[in-house]
């Protein structure tokens, strides 16, 4: 599938006027000198997804559609399988010994569990930001961002420009531009997390998974990341795992509620929080359990 196709698809559900606006803003972004290409998100489709740790079934058959250029929040109590599920999407789940996944996950029309698909390539296209900021301790701020590109074996291109573009994209440029040589772990927690986001977008993925990206951060840093998420969705499809229901309410277009490895309900965020279709969802979002 070409980029043009994907962007048309992104605009399908929006009204004509909005679409024009979106086109306009995309044009602006493309003409921006720091933008290398007008990357855009892709849809992710889960069909009958099951995930196992050894013999125990953690995900019990989930069907779910992630729309391109939308933020989809995954909520649910601890241990309900949200992290496991999103880790299946970039095939990080199988890195755990004895863990495996069954079912179908499609990036647009491409089956990412297909026999001829390179798992390394999947992870380049579907990036991930982790719960705890994990910059590489031996590397400077600059090298941390460049690592995204270098580790995946890409050469050439203007690395300086890539680093600046990524740091700008992560809203960190102004804070670190004078000390790019300093170690990445010298930054504050919130800055480290934005550094990790910069590192992720340096690879130019199409989908970004964020696994509770704010759970180790204070409210101010959290707010910055949330603002960033709202900006990032213009170019990427965002899958956001969160424990924080207010956070889902603030940034997510769609919210999915999971319980014991099953998908209970997925709908517009507003509907999930005001008028959920399932009693269990209602109990959870109203704080009766979890």
């Amino acid at each position: 599938m070409t980029l043009e196709n994907a962007s048309t698809k992104a605009g399908e559900d929006t009204l004509a006027s909005e679409q024009t606006e979106q086109e306009a803003s995309r044009f602006e972004r493309e003409s921006d000198a720091t933008t290398k290409r007008g990357a855009t998100g892709r849809s992710v489709t889960l069909r009958g997804l099951k995930a196992y740790y050894g013999d125990s079934e953690a995900i019990k058959g989930v069907d779910l559609d992630y729309e391109p250029n939308k933020v989809t929040a995954m909520i649910g109590p601890s241990g309900c399988g949200k992290s496991t599920m999103v880790r299946c999407i970039n095939r990080m789940h199988e890195e755990i010994p004895h863990a495996r996944a069954e079912g179908e996950i499609k990036l647009d029309e491409l089956d990412i569990y297909g026999d001829d698909v390179d798992v390394v390539a999947v992870r380049r296209v579907i990036g991930m930001v982790f719960q705890k900021p994990n910059p590489f301790p031996t590397m400077s701020i600059y090298d941390n961002v460049a690592a995204g590109v270098r580790l995946s074996g890409h050469k050439g291109g203007d690395m300086k420009q890539t680093v600046e573009r990524s740091l700008r994209g992560a809203g960190l440029w102004d804070e670190v531009k004078d000390r790019l040589d300093e170690p990445g772990i010298g930054l504050s927690g919130g800055q480290q997390q934005r550094l990790c986001i910069a590192r992720t977008i340096a690879v130019e993925p199409e989908v970004i998974i964020m696994d509770e990206p704010c759970s180790a951060l204070d409210p101010v840093a959290t707010l910055k990341i949330e603002e960033l998420i709202s900006q990032l969705k213009e170019r990427y499809t965002i899958i956001l795992v969160t424990h924080n229901m207010q956070q889902a309410g603030r940034v997510a277009d769609t919210t999915a509620f999971m319980l014991s490895g099953e998908l209970v309900e997925v709908d517009q965020t507003e509907k999930i929080f005001t008028n959920p279709g399932d009693k269990r969802t209602e109990d959870y979002v109203s704080g009766k359990f979890g």
């Binding site: 990080m92 890195e95 390394v120 992870r123 982790f130 994990n134 910059p135 590489f136 580790l151 772990i185």
Partner: protein, 291 residues
């Protein structure tokens, strides 16, 4: 509301007593452990420092029965070369084994067997390695009889499990979150190991290797059967080679005071060299971001 003012019982006399006894016991254990250490260093310096002068380090043993016995240059050069070659053999191999155990084999049955044998090898007395090389390479007549490089192999065998064990521990200390971060960026596993795991573990790997080197440098038994000893300085690892432990071993059994003094001087030199290595290891470790 509780009418009584709050009160808690004080520390019981029994607990106070037990605490005192335990503290005294632990302190005396520490002191007892320090006694031999201090004595060894004291005697080494007292008896060895007299032998130290410029000639001591710059001349070879003369072999003369009377008069000037000469210095220990050949022993210093020999130890440096033999241990150097042993390091080249053991350190890359040991780190390689550790990488396999941590990054690739981790849970497999084969890895567990390897781990078990590495543990066993750590406990094998050094003379066994010397004997093994003696039988296989020296008596076997591979490229002649006694040779420096055969001593290196014996020492390398001795170092290998030490390096492997130390490296495995350090590699395990590298947080999995870093491996995950790199994998999630779309890095192939070999690049994750090369660019993230190894650099992060580097200070620890250096420390572990230096400690293994320090241990090997003081070994006599493996060299006794393999490198043997000559008086003159040689840089040819294919020939017989002197070394500090061998020098001490042969000198200390002599009747002449000057030879015995040279043994003490050699011992002090050896300890000095090892101390230097340990200091370097410490400095490197201080720079470690994992510790």
């Amino acid at each position: 509301m509780n009418a009584q003012p709050a009160s808690l019982p004080g520390v019981s006399p029994r607990r106070r007593r037990t605490d005192k006894v335990a503290r005294v016991l632990l302190l005396s254990a520490t002191l007892i452990a320090l006694v031999p250490l201090v004595l060894v260093v004291y005697y080494l310096i007292k008896k060895g420092i007299g032998a130290w002068n410029l000639d001591f380090f710059t001349t070879d043993p003369s072999g003369r029965f009377f008069g000037d016995p000469g210095g220990i240059r050949s022993a210093i050069v020999g130890t440096t070369l033999i241990v150097g070659l042993a390091t080249v053999i053991a350190v890359p191999t040991g780190i390689g084994v550790a990488l396999y155990l941590v990054e690739y084999g981790s849970e497999s049955r084969f890895a567990n067997v390897v781990r078990y044998f590495v543990d066993v090898m750590t406990g094998v007395p050094s003379i066994v390695f010397g004997l093994f090389i003696y039988i296989v390479l020296v008596l076997g007549g591979v490229a002649g009889g006694f040779a420096g490089w055969k001593g290196s192999i014996a020492l390398g065998l001795l170092m290998l499990p030490v390096v492997t064990r130390a490296s495995e521990v350090v590699l395990k200390l590298v947080p999995d979150s870093l491996r995950e971060a790199a994998l999630a960026l779309g890095a192939p596993r070999w690049r994750v190991v090369w660019k993230v795991v190894l650099p992060t573990a580097l200070p620890g790997l250096v420390t572990g290797s230096l400690l293994a080197i320090a241990r090997a440098a003081g070994e006599t038994a493996p060299l006794l059967f393999t490198a043997f000893a000559v008086k003159a300085t040689t840089t040819n690892l294919g020939a017989q080679m002197n070394s500090l432990p061998m020098q001490i071993f042969s000198d200390v059994r002599q009747a002449q005071d000057r030879l015995v003094e040279r043994a003490w001087g050699s011992a002090l030199t050896l300890v000095g060299m090892i101390l230097l290595l340990t200091l370097v290891a410490r400095l490197v470790q201080r720079r470690s971001r994992l510790a």
